[in-house]
């Protein structure tokens, strides 16, 4: 599922998006950008790569809460990355309370539980390498591109999903709408609306940046108590990277994550017992939908940590398990069919120039070769080969 949408009249066909996509999900066909729902991991690289605001990721609106008898909003700890003191955090909370939800649920306790449980699991584990990520982008990256490493993933559910499950149980007799404030595009995919994730208890995902002007306008001298959980802050600001004792490697930034996963596939991270991954620099506080910058954010989080309380109650392990999607064995077409396609791809690839110029609308010659093998394109669509032909004649 992709949460990225494309605006044709903003697009100047510059191909920046084509080059910025780490999973080759973007192609340009008939002068339009196509995003493959299968390949897209919602990292948002194309949104920041586009110079003309041609790509966006929009969430649900606040108006949607009118459809419910009771509305709850989940507030992630990373939203406080902008607050340099407890006072500011309390003012932000007062503003959030004015958004008009019947209840606000702060995710700090959930994030904190996940943080301490992963640490416990790590102490006990005999495994060679454990990979954990509370980033939907990274989880999808591993499932789609690094299936060999799926067995290394820890099975903890994301904090927001755990909170939504709890709320659904609590308000089972009510028509309750559960909203999630999202700090990045990938979190938008966690909700039923607007992008149609059917397997979730979160009803609507709201992009923080869309409501930034409103929230800012609601800020005043008024304060509401902030429920800051120390372990929660540690999770969103550092992953588990603040610990330096148990052969932990915390990698953030998608380019570096990909490098680490490539090495892990060859079994080359022998000394690393635990790999904590995040697609954004500085973890969740580096999310695209947050205002401020994540470098100041890190300092701010450090200040807030002094005011934060330790974890209040602990959840049982069983309630936190994540249901993993099984690797679907490449939709299991027969070996003969797969081999036939593989041959066709390699044949086309050998014929193509190998410049990865993108002029055909595909990000690389190999991606083009795949399209040729599948019959969507022909070798004539290669601009370089076409140019050579006209030059020769």
């Amino acid at each position: 599922m992709s949460v990225i949408s494309y605006t044709l009249h903003h697009c100047i066909k510059c191909m920046h998006c084509l080059r910025s996509c780490p999973t080759e999900a973007i192609t340009i066909r008939n002068e339009r950008v196509n995003i493959s729902a299968e390949k897209c991991i919602n990292c948002g690289k194309c949104i920041s790569g586009c110079q003309h605001a041609g790509l966006t990721a929009k969430g649900s609106t606040l108006v949607d809460k009118e459809n419910y008898e009771y509305s709850v909003c989940l507030v992630p700890t990373s939203i406080y990355a902008d607050c340099s003191s407890l006072e500011e955090a309390e003012k932000l909370n007062a503003a959030l309370e004015k958004l008009g939800f019947d209840e606000l649920v702060y995710l700090g306790e959930y994030e904190g539980n996940v943080y301490s449980r992963v640490n416990e699991a790590l102490e006990k584990s005999e495994h060679r390498l454990i990979i954990s990520s509370f980033c939907p982008t990274i989880n999808r990256l591993i499932e789609t591109q690094y299936p060999m490493l799926m067995e290394c993933q820890v099975d903890f559910e994301l904090p927001a999903v755990l909170a939504a499950k709890d709320l659904r149980r609590k308000y089972a007799d009510k028509n309750c709408g559960i909203f999630l404030l999202c700090e990045c595009p990938s979190k938008l995919a966690l909700a039923k609306y607007p992008y149609g994730n059917q397997t979730t208890e979160i009803d609507h995902a709201i992009s923080i940046v869309d409501y930034f002007p409103l929230i800012n306008g609601l800020r005043s001298e008024q304060r509401a108590p902030a429920q800051l959980c120390a372990e929660g802050i540690k999770l969103v600001a550092t992953g588990l990277g603040s610990r330096f004792d148990k052969q932990i490697l915390s990698v953030n930034g998608l380019d570096k994550v990909i490098k680490a996963l490539e090495l892990a596939e060859f079994g080359l991270l022998k000394e690393v017992k635990y790999l904590s991954l995040s697609a954004c620099y500085n973890g969740c506080i580096g999310g695209q939908f947050l205002w401020g910058n994540s470098f100041n954010g890190r300092i701010n989080m450090h200040e807030l940590l002094k005011e934060a309380k330790p974890l209040q109650h602990e959840f049982s392990l069983a309630s936190m398990a994540r249901t993993k999607e099984n690797y679907d064995e490449k939709k299991k077409s027969s070996m003969a069919d797969r081999m036939k396609r593989f041959r066709a791809i390699n044949e086309a690839f050998d014929y193509l120039p190998g410049y990865d110029c993108g002029a055909c609308g595909f990000p690389s010659c190999r991606a083009m070769a795949e399209a040729i093998a599948d019959g969507h394109q022909s070798i004539k669509d290669c601009r370089i080969l076409g140019k050579r032909e006209t030059d020769e004649s």
């Binding site: 060999m148 596939e265 060859f266 080359l268 064995e329 077409s333 797969r338 081999m339 390699n346």
Partner: protein
């Protein structure tokens, strides 16, 4: 039978692992099951590094035998050969150069590891060159 060749240069540490990455991506595209692919990746990387460290250079040949559902990797070099095969197959034994060790290679687990993870293993060596052939049922 599908065939692809990758050239390996002597002591080309800067490009170490590139051929293995290409082979890994190709086999991923073919949709080889993750557990088998993991073994292939590990063996291929070890063997590629062996070629770079110890040999005068050579090539990797990837064959996909669809009739027998087998991936066969051949590593052929032009010498100097493995003087004592029994020792080379002993875990921990290494003749890697100081340079190789500086790069973090040469723990002496190369051949034993490759043998452990592959389904078929065959190696012949003379001063003319070493020919390692490993097979995986896919």
């Amino acid at each position: 039978m599908f065939e692809q060749r990758y050239a390996i240069l002597r002591e080309d540490y800067a490009n170490a692992g590139k051929a293995s990455s290409a082979i890994k991506s190709a086999l991923k595209q073919l949709g080889i099951a993750p557990d088998i692919l993991r073994r292939i990746a590990v063996a291929c990387y070890e063997a590629e590094i062996n070629l770079i460290i110890h040999s005068y250079g050579g090539e990797i040949l990837m064959n996909i035998d669809e009739e027998n559902s087998k991936v066969i990797l051949s590593f052929n070099d032009t010498g100097p050969g493995i003087p004592d095969m029994e020792k080379a197959l002993t875990p921990g034994f290494s003749t890697a150069s100081a340079t190789a060790r500086e790069f973090g290679f040469g723990a002496g687990m190369g051949l034993p590891n490759i043998k452990r993870v592959s389904d078929e293993f065959d190696v012949v060596s003379s001063s003319e060159g070493t020919h390692l052939k490993i097979g995986f049922y896919v």
